[in-house]
């Protein structure tokens, strides 16, 4: 599914990703852990095409198709979704209006018919109920005045509504209380399927108790320095990153 080979990327001319290679096959969930500043969020922005994140070498493909030459919205239409570590506020645009516009823009790009208002609202109500999101919150400007946890929950709501194929969760657990964490994890697990894959960036084993990864990778100083099974996360929780060296 996602295949990254020898990726190098700079931010403001500073090399951050330095020869990163990673494969996430369809149907699998891979966790990325690593010290602060290692380049985890940078990787998520490079994969989604944020301006200012310049790829200087290497490739990233989704099902064999080059991602790096596509605009961010084209990548989204191919099914790439990023749950932001720090979700942005969209003043003046109600959450529902925003998500419906996004969904229909994606569908249009894929040559699919638009979703009409009644079908969209029905889906939104069901999804909101499953994530225990107050429907009235969806009428407010997206993320404006939302608490940190509410913003994270809204990311998962958008993910469920847009039904992407490749999911990147950047510290979705931070800012969530225990109950919210369980709800969000259930929402994410509901999306696991043989034709989807996920990259879960986190600092804490706790999230991985709920979203069980197939593989765990350590990202340090812009590279994958260790990979293993779920037990690697436990080891990191116990021993920290010392033996993998500090971030650049």
């Amino acid at each position: 599914m996602l295949s990254i080979k020898n990726l190098h990327a700079t931010v403001a001319d500073k090399p951050i990703i330095k020869g990163l290679t990673l494969d996430v096959p369809a149907g699998e969930v891979h966790a990325i852990m690593g010290p602060n500043g290692a380049g985890k969020s940078t990787l998520s922005y490079v994969l989604t095409g944020r301006a200012g994140y310049e790829v200087t070498d290497g490739t990233a493909t989704l099902d064999g198709e080059d991602l790096l030459s596509l605009d961010p919205n084209e990548r989204a239409a191919r099914g790439v979704f990023l749950s932001f570590q720090y979700p942005l506020e969209i003043p003046g645009v109600p959450a529902l209006t925003f998500i419906r516009a996004a969904l229909n823009a994606q569908r249009k790009a894929r040559g699919e018919p638009e979703v009409g208002a009644p079908a969209f609202l029905k889906l939104a109500r069901e999804t909101a109920a499953s994530l225990k999101i107050d429907f009235d919150m969806l009428k407010r400007s997206l993320n404006v005045g939302f608490s940190g946890g509410e913003k994270k929950r809204m990311e998962i709501f958008q993910m469920a509504m847009l039904s992407p194929r490749f999911l990147i969760l950047d510290e979705t657990d931070s800012g969530l209380d225990i109950d919210a964490l369980k709800i969000v994890a259930a929402g994410v697990n509901a999306m696991r399927s043989p034709d989807r894959a996920m990259l879960v960036i986190t600092h804490y084993q706790r999230l991985l108790d709920y979203i069980k990864p197939d593989r765990v990778h350590v990202l340090s100083a812009g590279r994958i320095v260790a990979s293993g099974g779920p037990e690697l996360a436990h080891e990191l929780e116990r021993e920290g990153y010392d033996k993998y060296g500090k971030a650049a």
């Binding site: 301006a51 969209i90 003046g92 925003f98 994606q106």
Partner: protein, 362 residues
């Protein structure tokens, strides 16, 4: 010194120039080399209709965006049905207190000057739905005096679609009696040079003012929203919000002045101006001013000018919206705050459609 005096006397020296502090960003003297002749209607029957290009390239008649049982039309300076330039006051009717004022200027090479008066009788809640449109390189001066009697209220919505080559000054002068309330929303796409000026004599005395506007400018258009609110007595409120969107080489001017005179205690006055600059060569000049000579007042102003939030645009694109859609959505939402404050539901819908069309074209 004013455009109307210059038009009346033919004296170029009467034109405001950049040397006048209040006109430094909207110079007329350097722009108008010769006063164009006053429009003379030589036909018979109806006043001239304005025509605009239709979608398929054919000529269509312009239609006022507003609908009301009572519509007052002013074409090239003639008040329809009266053939007058300065008729007596328009007084709102108690049974149907809505007037659509539909002002059009067709053709070029001439000047037009109007002065109208509007009165809202005591205790009445009225709505003035005003639209201005033009399709030529005319010079227009339009003065409107608005009188609100005690306890009266007026919501005035003004949609301005002038021609790119027109030179226009519209000045409204609003006088409120005690406990009156006045709400104004002006939306404009500018002109070659355009000044929309509102002066409000605020008595305090539980009277309230909402003073809003938005300028949406492209190409080489210019718009100047100038307001002066003078609080002369205790216990008055003013809430002001102006937003601007400029691109290409357009230029937006906002001059907002709130004066709180000596003794006008317990005045509550808030002014906010926010503008988006969508291209490097576009320009905004803003001068928000609070002149406070009273004690115990609540006054504040804010002024922000900037570009669209690129992080928010990336976020929207990550969700699937193409860049131009994301930008249009954020821009419309930005202007939407002004439109949301319109209380009259029908007018709000018309204003929203109008703004969406302008923004689509921007």
């Amino acid at each position: 010194m004013s455009l109307s005096t210059a038009l009346r006397t033919g004296d170029l020296a009467e034109l405001p120039s950049r040397r006048d502090e209040d006109w430094r960003w909207t110079d007329l003297r350097g722009l108008i080399r010769k006063i164009p002749p006053a429009y003379v209607y030589e036909g018979t029957g109806l006043a001239p209709e304005i025509m605009v290009e239709g979608q398929a390239g054919q000529i269509d008649f312009y239609r006022s965006p507003f609908n009301a049982n009572r519509t007052v039309r002013v074409s090239n300076g003639m008040v329809a049905g009266l053939g007058l330039k300065e008729p007596g006051p328009l007084v709102f009717d108690r049974h149907d207190p809505v007037i659509a004022l539909d002002v059009t200027n067709a053709g070029g090479g001439f000047s037009v000057h109007n002065r109208l008066t509007v009165r809202v009788p005591h205790g009445l809640s009225a709505v003035l739905l005003e639209s201005h449109a033009g399709n030529g390189d005319h010079v227009v001066s339009f003065d409107l005096d608005i009188d609100l009697e005690e306890g009266a209220s007026l919501e005035r919505i003004v949609l301005v679609s002038d021609h790119a080559e027109a030179i226009v000054v519209r000045q409204s002068s609003v006088t409120l009696a005690a406990t009156a309330s006045y709400a104004q929303t002006v939306l404009t796409t500018g002109a070659r040079r355009q000044r929309l000026e509102t002066r409000i004599a605020h008595p305090g005395a539980q009277a309230s003012v909402r003073l809003d506007g938005a300028y949406l400018l492209e190409a080489q258009r210019h718009a100047d929203l100038t307001t002066v609110v003078t609080h002369g007595g205790v216990d008055g409120t003013t809430a002001q919000l102006t937003k601007g969107v400029v691109r290409d080489q357009a230029r937006g001017v906002f001059q907002g002045r709130i004066v709180v005179e000596r003794g006008a205690d317990r005045t509550d006055a808030r002014m906010r101006h926010q503008a988006l600059i969508l291209s490097e060569k576009a320009e905004i000049d803003a001068k928000p001013e609070l002149l406070i000579f009273a004690d115990d007042v609540q006054c504040a102003h804010g002024n922000t000018v900037g570009a669209l939030d690129e992080d928010a645009i990336f976020y929207a694109m990550q969700r699937g919206l193409p860049s131009d859609r994301a930008r249009a959505m954020l821009t419309a939402a930005f202007v939407g705050e002004v439109i949301d404050r319109i209380e009259h539901e029908g007018a709000r819908a018309v204003a929203l459609a109008w703004a969406q069309q302008q923004l689509g074209e921007l």
